[in-house]
Symmetry: C2
Subunit: 248 residues, 2 copies
Amino acid sequence: MGKDRALTQSRQKGRLEKILAELERASEFDQLQSVSEQLRDYFEIDHLVYHWVSSSGQQYGFGTYSDDWVQRYVEKDYLRVDPVIQGCYQRFHPVDWKRLDWTGKAARAFQAEAQGFGVGNQGYSVPIRGPNGQFALFTVSHNCDDATWAEFTEKNRRELILIAHFFNHAALELEPDRAPEQAQALSPREVDAMTFLAMGYSRAQVAETLSISEHTLRVYIESARFKLGAVNTTHAVARALSRGLIVI
Amino acid sequence: MGKDRALTQSRQKGRLEKILAELERASEFDQLQSVSEQLRDYFEIDHLVYHWVSSSGQQYGFGTYSDDWVQRYVEKDYLRVDPVIQGCYQRFHPVDWKRLDWTGKAARAFQAEAQGFGVGNQGYSVPIRGPNGQFALFTVSHNCDDATWAEFTEKNRRELILIAHFFNHAALELEPDRAPEQAQALSPREVDAMTFLAMGYSRAQVAETLSISEHTLRVYIESARFKLGAVNTTHAVARALSRGLIVI
DNA sequence: CGCGGCCTCGCCATTTCTGGGGAGAAAAGA
DNA sequence: TCTTTTCTCCCCAGAAATGGCGAGGCCGCG
């Protein structure tokens, strides 16, 4: 490796270090926005976005997408169409957009419109999950051919994972009102009840499975519903699931 | 900074690089075990453990804890007592053991017993969550005073986060992947129906919201139920949620 | 052009869930 | 020790969901 190149690399590393340090100190939206732009420039890519979906479905984020696109995305509720969301929601690990399912009419229409707003044809997204069903996605996207993109992601994978986490940390600082929504834990019996209900058991079946009377079971369901702020059983099960209190 | 120290640092970095590369290639338990030990030596700490809890409650892991301790932990179902698990389960971010709640009889007894098995008084754990309630914890632990530990975690935070992710990646390779039964897509109306039901709306409310008759709504619910292989509405909503077909 | 999928609407009877009460025992924590 | 939480059981009536029957129009695909 030539001396110059090594020097450049070292200088580059230093630049990234500086941005990361700023990211770690960041506590306001504008700072995160600025860091996003610096990182975009550093990586020499088209876009870089952090997108957060709370357990209640609210979403927000920051990054380099145009305001038009963000607004349209929220307006049109593209959360429910976006293959990146759909795909990453079921995945553990960072994923290249190429590996997602872009067949399907809605997906292709979405893709076309996204590219109209300057979103790249290539992308790489890092999913992060929270304890109560929160879901965040850190995405870099770019317009280039497959080989170039593969090289980029291979080279910067580690940095991207780290940045995703730092963004996530910063985003949580932004959001102060998590506490009230902090999941009140369910009692073991309540967890049992919710779990079997989520598995499709009727109340009678759950009661029999747990060897308790159906009346008793009802008390659990009701108290779980109360704790979860749910208006009916289905709602309670949905909340318990998306807050990670039960697993099926 | 002296030249020698810089050299040492660089050499150290190279050593870590080598271990990480091995970790990234690892695909078998023994390799991961070996990497754990190398990392322990590299960081000069007492223990380093990766611990995985699957959605069905099964747990496994690898690391440098003694077999005796691991066996005891599993036997005694310490998962339900361990403040590290309890604490990290509700947290987004890596956490220092000092910040956990060690009051409580069971917790203190657990702590005492753990230290008897050589687990350090200091620890730092990185939680990682999966799409279906999986929960993994990467932990480093050591015996030292607070200041030394604070310095260590501050210095190696980034590396630890990365290692946690690489371990996680490798652990997933280990796991005989349960075939993620191809989620059959729901029609848009079915998605609407499931979504509102998951939000706690009654049938009548959903029908009104979607401006369709309640009977039509029933057809959607039934076809969604059929597609999802669910026996009732709650079951269908639960499946739609955990397959990521709907988001609330 | 037929086939399948999607969207829309109706009636019946039966089962299941929900909301409002009340009450005692056991276990865990402060 | 005392308090709180958890677990267990019981009543009733009204609301909601389910299962099974049928019907027509619209769209895209091969």
